[in-house]
């Protein structure tokens, strides 16, 4: 098969700090090499608005903390053949899950009233409904590969992607760890 079709890749960022995406961009010049083999079909770093069905690889950063996160996680699972949890928030809940020991009302008060500089009030619209607890992706939908790290180093992301492109299943614990 000459001119093999490119692998399609989608990424999204749920309840996280975008650091994992920054680490992905830290692939630097390797992004060019990646672009020769992979088409990014949906991501915060491209303009596409719709995640195509049948995408080969989906990468999710961040934990599932809102109804919208839950919807996105389910959409990724449905439309991606291989789903990767990227980074500690996606894999373990990490920092977003540290609110889990508090009552949701207290969390809202802390964020929107106690720490508000002006107009302290609870948001009543435009924000997705917060779930009772922030959970790892795999507690919401099935995940195929877990890449730890806060964030996972660019080298670890490169290792995972190139192994997958070579048709092998990588073991990310060889190159990264929780809290890395």
């Amino acid at each position: 098969m000459s001119g093999a079709p490119k692998i399609t890749l989608a990424t999204a960022w749920l309840d996280g700090c975008s650091g994992c995406h920054m680490s992905f961009l830290d692939l630097d010049e390797r992004l060019i090499e990646l672009a020769e083999k992979v088409t990014i079909v949906y991501s915060p770093i491209v303009d596409t608005k719709e995640l195509p069905a049948g995408t080969d690889v989906g990468i999710l950063e961040g934990s599932v903390s809102t109804e919208e996160d839950l919807h996105k996680a389910r959409m990724f699972r449905e439309r991606c053949k291989f789903l990767i949890s990227l980074g500690d928030c996606a894999v373990s809940g990490n920092v977003p899950s540290m609110r889990n020991t508090y009552d949701l009302d207290d969390v809202f008060d802390r964020a929107f009233i106690e720490n508000a500089q002006a107009q302290p009030q609870r948001p009543s619209e435009s924000l997705p409904t917060l779930l009772d607890t922030a959970i790892p992706i795999h507690h919401a939908v099935a995940v195929d590969l877990f890449v730890q790290g806060c964030p996972p180093p660019a080298d670890a992301i490169w290792f995972v992607l190139t192994e997958l492109l070579a048709g092998r299943t990588p073991d990310p614990t060889q190159v990264t760890r929780f809290g890395a």
């Binding site: 373990s92 020991t101 790892p136 614990t173 760890r177 929780f178 809290g179």
Partner: protein
């Protein structure tokens, strides 16, 4: 059972037994544990509550091994070798159990590495990596535990405690203060100072910091450390125990 007298005038003869660990023929003193015999022969068995220089505890179950002929798994740290024993230290089943143990530990309290003072210097974190524990399948408990910062120099964060009791043992067996002990049952268990008084008000604590140095996680730490800054030096223990003639 009576212990051997402290004066080793005529050292009791210790028999040497032969056994197999992971297929290797090994000779060991009959009073040795499987863990020691394995370590002496370069076979690494993961441990967490075990610490050379302290009494055996056998609580964490990380060091479980299979012994041929026994349906039960044995803790390598607290099981003596025996003649003809055949030990397996790293079967698929054992690896699976060890990962499960780690998952349960991570799910029980707050073990979020990225914001922990012990990030990068934590035995629990290292073990997760070494054992390939890459995610936790069980639900996180999301339970809040107390943090006691009342001591001038040190802090105890119960959220990071795995109840290995190294602090309890080092304080009792090496420092001789017995400030630490364990209170409660099950997931409510926690290490306490004196009669569950704030650490800073403890009349028995000598402030020696041995408990901090042997704690495998970020539960017992020096104050004033930020994320990743808490490095511990537990290497003094075997030296201390040897110098005092193994008690």
């Amino acid at each position: 059972m009576a212990r051997h007298p402290a004066t080793p005038a005529a050292a009791p003869k210790v028999r040497v037994v032969t056994l197999k660990i992971d297929g290797h023929d090994i000779g060991a003193r009959e009073d040795e544990t499987i863990l020691n015999a394995a370590n002496d022969n370069g076979i690494r068995i993961p441990t967490l509550c075990y610490l050379e220089g302290l009494s055996e505890w056998g609580a964490c179950r990380m060091c479980v091994v299979e012994v041929a002929g026994s349906p039960k798994l044995m803790t390598a740290c607290s099981t003596r070798v025996a003649e003809g024993m055949e030990v397996t230290t790293n079967s698929d089943r054992l690896q699976r159990y060890r990962r499960t143990i780690l998952e349960l530990l991570f799910a029980e309290r707050n073990h979020i590495c990225s914001v922990c003072v012990s990030n990068g210097h934590c035995e629990l974190q290292s073990l997760a990596r070494a054992c390939g524990m890459d995610h936790v399948r069980v639900p996180y408990r999301n339970a809040a535990y107390a943090v006691d910062s009342s001591h001038d120099l040190f802090r105890i964060d119960q959220n990071r405690c795995i109840l290995c009791t190294r602090c309890v043992r080092v304080c009792d067996e090496i420092e001789g203060a017995h400030t630490w002990d364990v209170m409660g049952r099950g997931v409510d268990s926690q290490v306490i100072t004196d009669l569950n008084q704030p650490w800073g008000q403890s009349t028995s604590c000598t402030g020696c910091s041995k408990c901090v140095q042997v704690c495998p996680t970020g539960a017992l730490v020096k104050k004033g450390t930020a994320a990743g800054e808490m490095e511990k030096q537990g290497g003094f223990l075997p030296y201390l125990t040897e110098m005092r003639g193994n008690r």
